[in-house]
């Protein structure tokens, strides 16, 4: 049993992404001048990437602590003259943040739960059971990954409007839950679990549902974690779905709300806005730091074997 619990990246003979890829560096005097130059170049590039990568985030956080006028000061200043922490208090009373966060949280939790549940369930049917038309059906799932959502958002909108779920949070739940990606990711993982295991369980008289629940689910915890985190973050960040479906300001998600903050007021208080943006990014940052391994493995698993 312990053997199959190794994450797929390791089983396929890959080194896990978090470990150094090459042997310990050879002694300094062994390096050729070309290699030395390459290392210097490498560090220089790395520094440039670091600055480019982090500067926008630094700008966001620093601006959130400035006064409204200082955001647009000339010449540009990076550090606020006085740190105005009250921006982080005012944003809650100046906007509907609490409602936006409540809606977003509701959506992210419900969508993630349903997506993981139906996705892993369907993936079991696709990877561990045989029936006529299975491969064709799966091809349909995979094929739609190449079809942009934007090309069928209009018929989908008409359908959901006719079902009277437009302008309710359920529209977003329906929209996000049944993505092909969830089924695909879970199937990729289930395929790495040896067939013998489910065969043996069948001989022991376990039903297919029991095999899914008692063998597959416990073994696929890393994949479930990846799917959970990716779905949660996607739903939290989604802008287009809510833009089209949620007209009522009481239903707005945090993304819609913050965007309306920019466009509604002519004299937007940008310092406040940046405080709001920072607050909206913090949960994602925390989730990401706690589960970064699963993000990376989820992408690598679903990506490479596609």
């Amino acid at each position: 049993m312990t053997e199959v619990m190794v994450p797929p990246a390791k089983k396929r003979g890959l080194r896990p992404l978090t470990e150094p890829a090459q042997d310990a560096p050879r002694r300094r005097d062994e390096r050729t001048p070309g290699e030395k130059a390459a290392r210097v170049l490498g560090y220089t590039l790395l520094m440039l990437f670091a600055i480019g990568l982090l500067a926008p985030f630094a700008w966001m956080v620093l601006s959130s602590l400035k006064s409204a006028n200082e955001v647009f000061s000339v010449p540009v200043t990076w550090l606020p003259e006085v740190f105005i922490w009250s921006n982080y208090v005012e944003i809650w009373s100046e906007s509907n943040m609490l409602v936006w966060i409540r809606n977003t949280l509701f959506l992210a939790v419900v969508v993630t739960f349903l997506q993981v549940l139906t996705g892993s369930f369907a993936a079991y049917g696709f990877s561990k059971m045989k029936f006529r038309g299975r491969d064709m059906l799966f091809l349909l799932y995979v094929g739609t990954i190449a079809v942009p959502w934007q090309s069928y958002m209009i018929p989908q909108f008409i359908l959901l409007s006719n079902l009277k779920v437009s302008n309710t949070l359920w529209a977003i739940v329906f929209l996000q839950t049944f993505s092909a990606f969830g089924v695909f990711l879970m199937k990729q993982f289930y395929e790495t679990i040896p067939e013998d295991l489910s065969e043996a369980a069948r001989l022991d008289g376990l039903s297919e549902y029991a095999i899914w629940r008692r063998i597959m689910l416990p073994l696929s915890v890393p994949a479930l974690a990846s799917l959970t985190l990716l779905t949660f973050v996607n739903t939290w960040n989604d802008y287009l779905g809510p833009l089209i479906y949620l007209r009522d300001p009481d239903l707005w998600t945090i993304q819609l709300g913050l965007k309306s903050f920019v466009s509604n007021l002519y004299d937007t208080d940008y310092a406040l806005l940046f405080a709001g943006l920072t607050i909206s990014v913090i949960p994602i940052a925390i989730i990401f730091m706690l589960g970064q391994r699963f993000f990376v493995e989820g992408i690598a698993t679903s990506g490479l074997k596609g």
């Binding site: 890959l14 890829a21 700008w59 647009f72 139906t118 209009i154 929209l175 297919e208 960040n237 970064q292």
Partner: protein, 310 residues
């Protein structure tokens, strides 16, 4: 690999055939019960809309749901629509800049991070963070950074000697490059992970052998690394192409297609016609164009890849 769940099925004598058929039917039912909860949603919210889309594109469907068959009229109108031509051209322009730039940046990043340099572990994590940051936050922050007078980017450009830095999002010529810079910054971490996973499948022995034969860093890259990366490169290109053709939300928040129509793309054209002007039939015809653009290019890439590896 037994087809049925019954353990004795493969050796069952002929007279048990009805039983076997029943077991197989039962098995199929169970399999469908696994798939159905997801498939009901997937079928009705993805497959059905895709099929309905084609019908709608031949009608003058409007907001009241009344639709008359108009044949190819929508498509004829599209061909003569100046905004559509601009949107189509801009989508290709965006893709032509975004695809090579993203491959270049993310591959460079992956190559760098595949080495034992200090701080590499931190970077593998940090580079991915923009990808999971919301579009709204990214767009608002970059919009301000690109601000011609108040933004730090032009401040830096002036500092290093450009007396008249570009107007970025206020300039019809520079708005699209600005969008491409932001989208590349956002996507690079994602594609870097794909490349990094690909790089780890490159056999170390090949590098060692090439090194012994006196191949330098650059030679080894072109003769060892790049050929081994071909499957990854193919996959990245396919995904990146589809994602570039459907670019929308970033543009919607950053520029809303402006200034003028300089960053109007296909997805936004569909959105405008459909959701702002309620011309669902006409918007569907534009959607069909986007659909075929993505499918055709993807299929072409697969065929080309097959021919090259054959």
């Amino acid at each position: 690999m037994a087809i049925t769940a019954a353990p004795d099925a493969p050796v069952a004598p002929p007279r048990k055939r009805p039983q076997r058929a029943r077991a197989r039917r039962r098995n199929t039912l169970i399999a469908w019960s696994f798939i159905l909860p997801n498939f009901i949603g997937f079928g009705s919210l993805t497959l059905v809309p895709i099929i309905v889309l084609f019908y709608m594109s031949f009608t003058n469907w409007n907001v009241f749901g009344k639709a008359d068959w108009v044949g190819l009229a929508n498509f004829e109108r599209l061909l003569g629509d100046g905004s559509f031509q601009i949107a189509f051209g801009n989508t290709l322009y965006y893709s032509a800049l975004h695809i090579p730039l993203t491959i270049l940046v993310s591959l460079t990043l992956a190559l760098l991070l595949n080495n034992k340099l200090r701080g590499v572990a931190f970077f593998r994590t940090a580079a991915f963070f923009p990808y999971i940051t919301s579009i709204v936050a990214i767009a608002v922050v970059w919009n301000l950074m690109f601000s011609p007078d108040y933004g730090p980017i032009n401040e830096i450009l002036r500092f290093v000697g450009f007396a008249e830095p570009p107007g970025w999002l206020t300039s019809a010529d520079w708005a699209m490059p600005a969008v491409v810079i932001v989208s590349t910054w956002r996507d690079m971490g994602y594609y870097m992970i794909l490349f990094l996973a690909g790089l780890q499948t490159v056999p170390r022995e090949l590098h060692e052998a090439a090194r012994v034969d006196g191949a330098g860093v650059i030679q080894r890259f072109f003769n060892v690394t790049l050929p081994c990366l071909r499957p990854t490169m193919f996959f990245v290109t396919v995904i990146l192409t589809i994602n570039s053709f459907k670019i929308f939300d970033l543009i919607l928040v950053m520029t809303e297609g402006g200034p003028g129509q300089s960053t109007l793309v296909l997805s936004q054209f569909i959105y405008r016609k459909g959701f702002e002007e309620s011309q669902f039939g006409y918007a569907s015809a534009a959607s069909v164009a986007l659909f075929f653009l993505c499918i055709t290019v993807t299929v072409a890439q697969f065929l080309w890849n097959k021919r090259r590896s054959a």
